[in-house]
């Protein structure tokens, strides 16, 4: 009887020890307080970020013959101008302006941009699929959301999708230098779990 009580007392003690010490090991900074505005949260999909009536033009280079492509690649000013024009048309990615100011919940993958001193995310991009930064064609600008949390967030697994929650802003300014795009004032990040 004595022995078993000791055993259980020891186990409890060690469990408490480990528990307390592990608390010391990890800390999450997640929840940014939702402000006075208690507006509803809308779950949106990536498709909704593209205007419903917009039709993505085909990649012009796909339909050209090899000769045509070679001619464009000759390096002349004229060709360069043509390429520029084609690219402009191809890359044109309009935004859905009425989403501006909405509180949304968007499932996305994270591409980090800035870390703070403890490798927490200060600024990042949200994209619809992983590998947006690798060899696959990059997503158009209306499928990229630039997220800025008010406080750096910790994300354990950068390769898993998350729910990004916050207020969406549509940057309607278009200039020669930059395309219009989406910004997210990030409130919270949650791991994404597929609901069956």
């Amino acid at each position: 009887m004595k022995k078993s009580r000791f055993l259980s007392a020891s186990v409890v003690n060690i469990a408490i020890m480990l528990g307390v010490l592990s608390l010391a090991g990890c800390k999450k900074v997640d929840d940014v307080d939702v402000s006075e505005n208690i507006t509803t949260l809308t779950e949106i999909t990536w498709d909704e970020l593209i205007p419903a009536d917009f039709e993505q033009p085909e990649n012009p280079f796909e339909t050209m013959s090899q000769d045509e492509i070679d001619k464009l690649m000759d390096g002349s000013e004229e060709s360069k101008a043509i390429i520029e024009q084609l690219e402009k048309e191809f890359y044109y990615a309009p935004t859905v302006d009425k989403l501006d100011g909405m509180r949304v919940k968007l499932p996305a993958y994270i591409t980090p941009l800035e870390f703070d001193g403890q490798m927490k995310l200060e600024e990042f991009l949200l994209v619809p699929y992983l590998g947006a930064c690798m060899h696959t064609p990059p997503p158009p600008s209306n499928q990229i959301v630039h997220a800025t949390p008010s406080e750096a967030v910790e994300v354990d697994d950068m390769y898993s999708p998350v729910w990004a929650i916050g207020r969406l802003r549509v940057d309607t300014k278009k200039s020669a230098l930059a395309e219009a795009g989406y910004q997210l004032e990030l409130e919270d990040i949650e791991p994404y779990k597929r609901l069956q």
Binding site: A9, N13, I14, I16, V20, P112, L113, E114, C133, G181
Partner: protein, 416 residues
């Protein structure tokens, strides 16, 4: 009861001292490891900021990050000057900072770059480089050194320095006739910038004027003659790029990666940093786990020392019982003893931790460029201290409980 516990411990200090010392050492270990981990992570993560892309000749992304930002390792190839110019002139690009690597000065890396490094480059919390004394490079042979270089080699403004070819710490072949001059010293940044010597791209060309065939030629050109030459670089090692819109990064990266003129690699520094971090992170976590295990070992040892001593103390318990102590008194006595030892161990550990930091702080900063500020423990440190204290107190209840049971069973009948 407190005085009893105190007297009891004092009487047996030889035995318990070692156990307490073990706890102290383990606590100081974990505190120091955590501190260094924290600062190293901080230093690592703060190396570059506000840069959208880093472009280099095609190699691997971590390799590019390492040589361009951390100044570790070497590039296999360069980027042509034309390409660098082409990228700079793109609409989407706001600024570029070209850098040229490959040379050294007394073990410190020499970085050829433009004035943009002083205006556009950011690190840490969006901080720009600050020239603490002197000015940026103006003349071909001007050099701006990082704070560590200036301190270690005791440099002053106007001092002539000689830059060697290659990255070895000892230059076997020097460019004696063409000394550079220190025009400025940078304020400390806590990044590899501190350990670098910055010269203009023209300066790099000037240095290599007679190295065309891979070895120094015997003709000697005068310094003034060199200044007159066209010192436009033919190539640079890497390019740091800032874009007008951060979201444009994917497209520009893709465009650079598929550049037809030459094989290039464009990386997002944060992504590459994250990849590098995941490698280091495993070792880091292992280190924490090991330190924690050492603490657990220290506490287990303390408990076992106390438990072991119970055998000899049965007589004591019997005497206490005989003079009127109840089992709960025995429990309290031992509980107080173990709590006292734990507190002593943790406090000594904290003291030891400070001693270690203070005494080795300068050595760490000299050799690793890591500055570890010494102050009251941060939130993490306090959590560790509290956690160990709590764990120790709880663990100490084991011998207390054992003594309680023993004294109940023995009563006063313990025969020697």
């Amino acid at each position: 009861m407190l005085t009893l516990a105190w007297q009891s411990l004092r009487n047996r200090w030889g035995t318990v001292l070692l156990a307490t010392l073990a706890v102290a050492v383990s606590v100081s270990l974990i505190l120091t490891v955590e501190k260094i981990r924290h600062e190293a992570r901080n230093s690592f993560a703060q190396t570059v900021s506000g840069t959208d892309l880093i472009v280099g000749a095609r190699s691997g992304s971590i390799q590019l990050l390492l040589y361009s930002v951390f100044r570790i390792g070497n590039a296999t190839n360069n980027i042509s000057w034309e390409t660098a110019k082409e990228i700079e002139q793109r609409d989407a690009v706001k600024w570029t900072i070209p850098i040229s690597l490959g040379d050294s000065h007394r073990g410190y890396r020499v970085v050829g770059t433009t004035q943009d490094i002083f205006t556009q480059f950011r690190y840490g919390n969006d901080q720009a480089l600050r020239i603490a004394s002197g000015r940026a490079f103006d003349d071909v042979f001007d050099a701006v050194v990082g704070s560590e270089v200036a301190k270690a080699l005791e440099y002053a403004i106007g001092q002539p320095i000689v830059i060697g070819h290659g990255t070895g710490s000892v230059s076997l072949v020097k460019h004696d006739e063409r000394p550079f001059r220190i025009s400025g010293i940078l304020a400390p940044t806590g990044t590899p910038v501190d350990r670098s010597v910055h010269i203009s791209l023209a300066g790099i060309e000037a240095m290599h004027v007679d190295w065309q065939s891979g070895r120094q030629s015997s003709d000697e050109l005068s310094v003034d003659a060199i200044r007159e030459m066209d010192l436009t670089p033919k190539a640079v090692t890497a390019l740091m790029v800032g874009l007008n819109s951060r979201a444009a990064v994917f497209r520009e990266q893709r465009s650079i990666n598929t550049y037809r003129e030459e094989p290039l690699l464009a990386i997002l520094p944060a992504v590459a940093l994250q990849e590098l971090w995941s490698l280091i992170g495993v070792a880091e976590k292992a280190l924490f786990f090991i330190s924690m295990s050492v603490v657990v070992a220290g506490l287990v040892n303390l408990v076992s020392v106390l438990l072991a001593s119970l055998g000899e103390r049965r007589r004591e318990m019997a005497i206490l019982r005989a003079t009127g102590a109840r089992p709960i008194h025995v429990f309290t006595l031992l509980g107080l003893e173990s709590t006292g030892l734990t507190i002593l161990g943790v406090a000594s550990g904290l003291l030891l931790h400070y001693i270690i930091l203070l005494s080795s702080g300068w050595w760490i900063s000299e050799n690793y460029g890591l500055v570890i500020p010494v102050g009251i423990p941060d939130a993490q440190g306090l959590r560790i201290l509290l956690g160990v204290l709590l764990a120790g107190i709880l663990a100490g209840l084991i011998p207390a409980f054992a003594a309680y049971r023993t004294s109940l069973a023995d009563g006063m009948t313990q025969k020697l």
